[in-house]
């Protein structure tokens, strides 16, 4: 539907009127075959009733499947659009006091900014900060508005927290899988067929189960995430170490100096200890990092009787042992730290 002729300043040519609404053309389209022009909205409405030109009854071809009915319509000729855009029109908010007269092409731009526009969005000045159309400002209720906002946000929060619980569940499942995988790797390294079979029975059908021997594991290790790869390397290395036999537990050096520590580090490194593990093990070569049951003289004396239960591996050629957490879970948290520790002796290790 077009613009009321009364809104224009000066004479509007008869050619610029829509034959359907009888008003000045708004967003004009023409029927391609007969070139008659109409307001876009008017001609689209008419074509829903009859598919002929409203002026000369030229048939308007039906629209193709899927496309809109505008396919038989095209933009009005440029000259017509130019003539229209040059017309000078009064702002539609004249009744509210706007005195603006603009070219038709600039009307929309003006309306967006027109301070007399009753629908112009303004910010509530009573503190709630909502943006509402100007004519609704008097009925605007801050509490109602904010309450609505809170309700909407609660919904969003609920959705998000639901998502968090789902993700947490997934994470916990994956952790569990990881534990089982680690167990598998450990079992395969210690090549105890019974415990391997036990672990396999726990596993979901996820990891490649064919790889039982360390060599075949290492050939396919690039398929595993870092953590699994580390576990495989660790067990490979451990399987190469000899169990230690400690004749004299009293020879523990609980505060080895840095020279002694570097000698042991050297020996561990040349035994094939993975680098990441080496760092952690050497950090745990001093009583300040030992578990509570070993960390001071008093607790060491108290737990002395349990020392024989440790599973220990000898650092090749040195008076020192590696005690891995994975092999000493039976000792309990009081006696072992993760991933393991090094104990250096003055003497007494075979």
């Amino acid at each position: 539907m077009g613009y009321e002729v009364e809104r224009f300043v000066g004479v509007v040519d008869e050619e610029l009127f829509c034959p359907i609404c009888g008003l000045v053309l708004d967003s004009p389209l023409q029927i391609k075959d007969c070139e008659h022009c109409f307001c876009g909205s008017c001609i689209e409405e008419w074509l829903k009733h009859q598919r002929v030109c409203p002026v000369d009854r030229t048939p308007v071809p039906p629209s193709c499947e899927g496309s809109s009915l505008t396919s038989a319509l095209g933009p009005a000729p440029r000259i017509l659009r130019n003539l229209l855009s040059r017309l000078r029109i009064k702002c539609e908010n004249e009744v509210f006091g706007c005195q603006t007269v603009t070219h038709l092409e600039g009307l929309q731009l003006h309306l967006n900014q027109c301070e007399y526009n009753p629908r112009r969005p303004v910010e509530c000045d009573r503190g709630c900060g909502s943006v509402v159309p100007m004519d609704e400002l008097t009925q605007h209720n801050c509490i109602k508005e904010l309450r609505e906002k809170i309700t909407n946000q609660s919904l969003v929060i609920k959705t998000l927290s639901d998502q968090v619980s789902i993700l947490q569940q997934e994470l916990s499942d994956q952790r569990q899988e990881m534990t089982i995988l680690k167990e598998l790797v450990r079992s395969s390294a210690s090549s105890s067929s019974n415990s391997l079979r036990h672990t396999l029975s726990l596993l979901p059908p996820l990891p490649p189960l064919s790889s039982a021997s360390p060599s075949s594991v290492s050939s396919s290790q690039s398929n595993y995430p870092d953590e699994v790869e580390h576990a495989i390397q660790t067990s490979q290395w451990l399987s190469l170490l000899r169990p230690a036999r400690i004749r004299h537990w009293g020879g523990i050096i609980s505060t080895p100096d840095s020279i002694l520590q570097s000698i042991i580090r050297q020996a561990l490194s040349s035994s094939g200890c993975p680098q990441y593990l080496l760092v952690e093990l050497m950090a745990n070569a001093h009583e300040r990092r030992w578990p509570p049951g070993l960390s001071v003289l008093e607790t060491r004396q108290l737990n002395r009787s349990r020392y024989e239960q440790y599973v220990t591996k000898q650092v090749p050629g040195k008076q020192a042992v590696v005690i891995m957490a994975s092999e000493n879970e039976h000792m309990g948290d009081n006696m072992i730290v993760s991933p393991g520790m090094v104990i250096i002796f003055a003497h007494g290790v075979d």
Partner: protein, 202 residues
């Protein structure tokens, strides 16, 4: 802004008033109630060289909410004897008021089309079968009857005074028949008094 049908009616009302045809008093349009522009009163003058010449025909015009996407509803208020207009209800059989309506048509073009219909009847597409049959079978009698109706109902000037017709109507009046019924019965039965009496009393 008012709805489209009202906006259009206002504009078309002005168009009819300022039209050349209105200047020559050939057509006219009047608003019955300022607060309801969907009900209008139209007038067309019977065109020259027709039985309707000089008659004033009042039309009832109703504008639907869907105007101008659908045609206005127009019927004759003034009684008329014409093949395409019902002699009883005033309903008009005119293609542009039905499936040949186009949104660019206006009340002015509608009134002019109705006037043209009075000039050139379409007996092969009749609204009133009795009138159409007479029009084709006895054109002279049709003209005589149509002219009589125009003089009686539309105020057409009485150029001839047909004493025979008046006498037949008077006869029926004396039998207690109303004048309108008497005229309809006589017109329908080709002014055969006996046939008209038979139709009224059986």
């Amino acid at each position: 802004m008012a709805s489209l049908h009202i906006t259009r009616v206002k504009r078309e009302f002005r168009e009819v008033v300022s039209s050349e045809e209105a200047q020559k008093s050939q057509i006219k349009i009047e608003i019955i109630d300022e607060s309801d522009l969907t009900k209008l009163k139209g007038t067309v003058i019977g065109p020259p060289d027709t039985p309707f010449e000089g008659g004033t025909y009042i039309l009832d015009i109703r504008i639907p909410d869907t105007y101008p996407f659908n045609p206005p509803k127009v019927k004759f208020v003034t009684k008329i004897w014409h093949p395409n207009i019902s002699s009883v209800t005033g309903a008009i059989c005119l293609d542009i008021l039905k499936d040949q309506w186009a949104a660019a048509m206006t009340l002015r073009t509608v009134l002019l089309s109705i006037q043209a219909l009075l000039q050139a009847a379409e007996p092969d597409d009749p609204q009133d079968a009795v009138v159409a049959k007479q029009y084709k079978g006895d054109p002279e009698l049709y003209r005589k009857t149509a002219k009589h109706w125009a003089q009686t109902y539309a105020g057409a000037p009485k150029t001839t005074d047909d004493a025979e017709i008046s006498a037949k109507i008077d006869t029926l009046l004396q039998m207690g028949i109303t004048e309108t019924k008497a005229r309809e019965a006589l017109s329908t039965h080709s002014w055969n008094l006996e046939a008209a009496v038979d139709s009224l009393f059986t």
